[in-house]
């Protein structure tokens, strides 16, 4: 428990390190969902199948 506690303390103290990637990932996730709506390219593929 002490080791875990120390690790968590270590990580919490370094929020400046890990928080930016986490926030960026959340934003990226939302953007990816918005960008991939309506996959209009697929008819190109259908044309050869």
């Amino acid at each position: 428990v002490t080791g875990l506690s120390k690790s968590l303390t270590f990580i919490a103290a370094r929020w400046r390190i890990w928080l930016p990637p986490v926030l960026l990932t959340i934003v990226t996730f939302v953007v990816v969902i918005l960008l991939t709506k309506g996959k209009t390219i697929l008819p190109y593929l259908y044309r050869f199948s």
Partner: protein, 678 residues
């Protein structure tokens, strides 16, 4: 002067100027201050330094372009000295390290030290080690966080998209495989790719020239009806042959409709396809159906390499003639692309925003060419109109949109091409308004006309019901066509009587009238039920070619000629030549073992060249050569080549078997048509 290195430093002084660096320090227990000086001076690699105060050697000296200096002294008295650009006011300090720890001093604007000395502590080295460890821990934490975020993004998006979470899938290859899965396709030097003849599968069956069967009973091309060229919407992808719109049009109008549609064809390929089939099908109407054909016209490779046209001085100029063989325009897939293929996020983004780059590989590519798709498409349709009308037939252009008809606006390129096509007096059937109205007012009915992808919801090809609607639109347009079409002024139409179309003597007479100076033609089998089978034997000298010239009526007019025959390899390769009285025409070599046309050469002013080879049953290969001959006096030459493809060789039993020799011609070349370059 003390030579050994000091054990500790209580106080030091460092001064820096353009000439060099000077360090003064007090050695504990000593009654004097020690002063060392290094002097800068220009050197080939920047600045060199040497110590003046004593004779001890400078072990290593290096300066970066911004005057960072690293000095190591042999006895370790001054281990490190980093000198940021002393002339740069943004770096107004000097850092250095003495034996017991780092030191630092600041400089004033005139670069004189204002704080002198760093007190070295005995634990400085341990503190430095702790600092390095902390930096390493932070870097590791950052890398681990990034990796976990990327994994979370991938799994989260997979969960959102409802695809297998932990399956290791090459998503890119899934698309690629779907595109490649068309076993009825084959390479064609003129069209890029075309359908195999006499292909049969549960979903796709063809007859001669890759024409899709409307019904299972179709065995041969029926002439005098309607020729339908186009893309997969015409071919009827997703439905049976009988459910394609050409087949349903045939049921509606009661005349044969030849379905020559091919998936992925552009307007350019459709026009070339129509020109090749005109003398064979001899239709009364040609219907050109385009769904994405205008856009495809702007590509030199659309999945596979294809011909494309540019306009030069208002004339069409063909490129990629012959079309490069598959695999010759390779685009190796990089390691990064291979790795990223396993990410569903990357695949979905690339599929939507850079599909042509994403799917391109050794076998398939999408390459855009800088042309105006609409302008070239209009020019091609104008050319086809001339071809069709010179043949006494009529042209109808069908613009298809399928499920995309639910969009608010019709694609601009379709509007523009419809406009230019109507302006040249050609009937245009545009299904957009009809389907769009259904999408607006009867969405369920609209949905029943089009296939949709289950996962993405994207519209695909039309259903049998959708094709029935299209056939009805075309049939209505055909009823509105004028009863006959006269050739435009300046163009003369050859009377295409049977004799003119097939001027070869009957096969039974071939051996009797053929000169056999350089090769012998002997009857091999006259009981095959398909006419006589001949064996062509090399009989020329060691320094001559080995060929026969087929007997043709004299003064055959200038026209497009299609020369075809079936051949079976024995011990030689073959070359066909199709030339007029002035030796204009085409020459093509055929690899009978591979059943392929190896290459086609233009002779003189020969135009619209095409060579094809396709395997038939029992080792027979149907080969053909087409060319537009600008002068009268057409004749055909069949030449034997040896195993290495040489034309001149001592005869040693080289021979091939021939049957079903046929020559067809279309129409005389008019003065206005002769200038068209293909």
């Amino acid at each position: 002067m003390q030579d050994r290195a000091p054990q500790s430093v209580e106080r030091d002084r460092l001064s820096l100027n353009r000439k060099g660096i000077r360090v003064s320090y007090t050695v504990p227990g000593a009654s004097y201050r020690r002063s060392d000086r290094w002097e800068r001076k220009p050197a080939s690699c920047g600045i060199a330094a040497r110590r003046r105060s004593e004779e001890r050697a400078v072990e290593a000296v290096s300066f970066s372009p911004i005057l960072l200096a690293s000095l190591r002294i042999a006895d370790g008295s001054l281990r490190y000295c980093s000198i940021p650009d002393a002339t740069d006011p943004h770096h107004p300090y000097v850092a250095y390290e003495l034996p017991n720890g780092p030191g630092r001093t600041c400089l004033t604007a005139d670069r004189r030290p204002i704080m002198v000395g760093a007190r070295a502590s005995p634990g400085a080295r341990k503190a430095e080690m702790r600092r390095v460890k902390r930096i390493l821990a932070d870097v590791t934490l950052f890398i681990v966080t990034c990796a976990m975020c990327l994994a979370a993004l991938e799994f989260g998006f997979r969960a959102y998209s409802r695809v297998p979470l932990f399956e290791l899938v090459d998503w890119r290859s899934r698309h690629v495989t779907a595109i490649k899965a068309a076993p009825w396709l084959r390479y064609d030097a003129v069209l890029g790719n075309t359908a195999k003849s006499d292909f049969s599968s549960p979903s796709w069956s063809t007859i001669d020239y890759g024409i899709r069967k409307n019904h299972a009973s179709d065995q041969a091309i029926r002439t005098g009806g309607i020729l339908a060229v186009g893309d997969s919407f015409t071919a009827g992808s997703g439905v049976s042959g009988a459910e394609s719109w050409p087949a349903q049009l045939e049921d509606l109008v009661g005349v044969p409709v030849i379905n020559a549609g091919m998936g992925g064809y552009g307007i350019d390929q459709m026009v070339l396809q129509a020109e090749l089939l005109l003398p064979i099908v001899r239709p009364k109407v040609v219907v050109l159906g385009s769904e994405l054909g205008i856009v495809t016209t702007g590509y030199s490779s659309f999945t596979w390499a294809k011909p494309y046209f540019t306009l030069q001085d208002g004339k069409l100029v063909v490129h990629n003639e012959p079309v490069p063989l598959p695999g010759t325009q390779s685009k190796p897939i990089g390691y990064l692309e291979r790795i990223l293929s396993y990410s569903y996020v990357v695949d979905q983004l690339m599929t939507k925003y850079a599909p042509l780059d994403w799917f391109s590989d050794n076998d398939q590519q999408w390459v855009r060419v800088p042309i105006d798709d609409v302008e070239v498409s209009c020019a091609l349709l104008r050319r086809l109109k001339g071809d069709v009308e010179a043949y006494g037939a009529r042209l109808v252009v069908l613009l298809q949109h399928g499920g995309n008809s639910n969009r608010k606006e019709e694609p601009e390129e379709d509007i523009l091409v419809a406009r230019c096509t109507r302006a040249m007096g050609v009937t245009v059937v545009d299904e957009y308004n009809t389907l769009h109205a259904l999408a607006e007012h009867h969405p369920e009915e609209f949905e029943s006309l089009n296939f949709r992808d289950r996962d993405s919801g994207a519209y695909g090809h039309m259903t049998a019901k959708g094709n029935r609607l299209v056939a009805g639109l075309v049939a209505a347009a055909l009823r509105e066509l004028p009863p006959s079409v006269s050739p435009p002024p300046g163009e003369t139409v050859q009377d295409v009587s049977d004799e003119a179309r097939n001027p070869l003597p009957l096969p039974e007479d071939l051996e009797r009238v053929t000169p056999t100076t350089y090769a012998k033609l002997v009857i091999l089998d006259s009981t095959s039920g398909r006419g006589k089978v001949y064996r062509l034997l090399a009989a020329g000298g060691a320094s001559t070619g080995h060929f026969i010239q087929l007997p043709m009526p004299k003064d055959l007019p200038a026209a497009i000629y299609a020369f075809s025959l079936q051949v079976r390899r024995a011990h030689a390769q073959l070359r066909l030549q199709l030339v007029d009285g002035k030796n204009n025409g085409a020459s093509a070599d055929y690899d009978l073992q591979q059943a392929s046309a190896g290459g086609i050469d233009r002779l003189g002013r020969g135009q619209r060249l095409a060579a094809a080879a396709e395997p038939i049953a029992d080792g027979w290969v149907r080969i053909s050569l087409t060319a537009q001959l600008p002068e009268a006096g057409a004749h055909m030459i069949v030449q034997l080549l040896d195993h290495d493809g040489r034309t001149v060789f001592p005869a040693a039993g080289e021979a091939v078997e021939l049957r079903d020799l046929e020559v067809r011609s279309s129409y005389a070349v008019s003065a206005s048509n002769a200038g068209v370059v293909k």
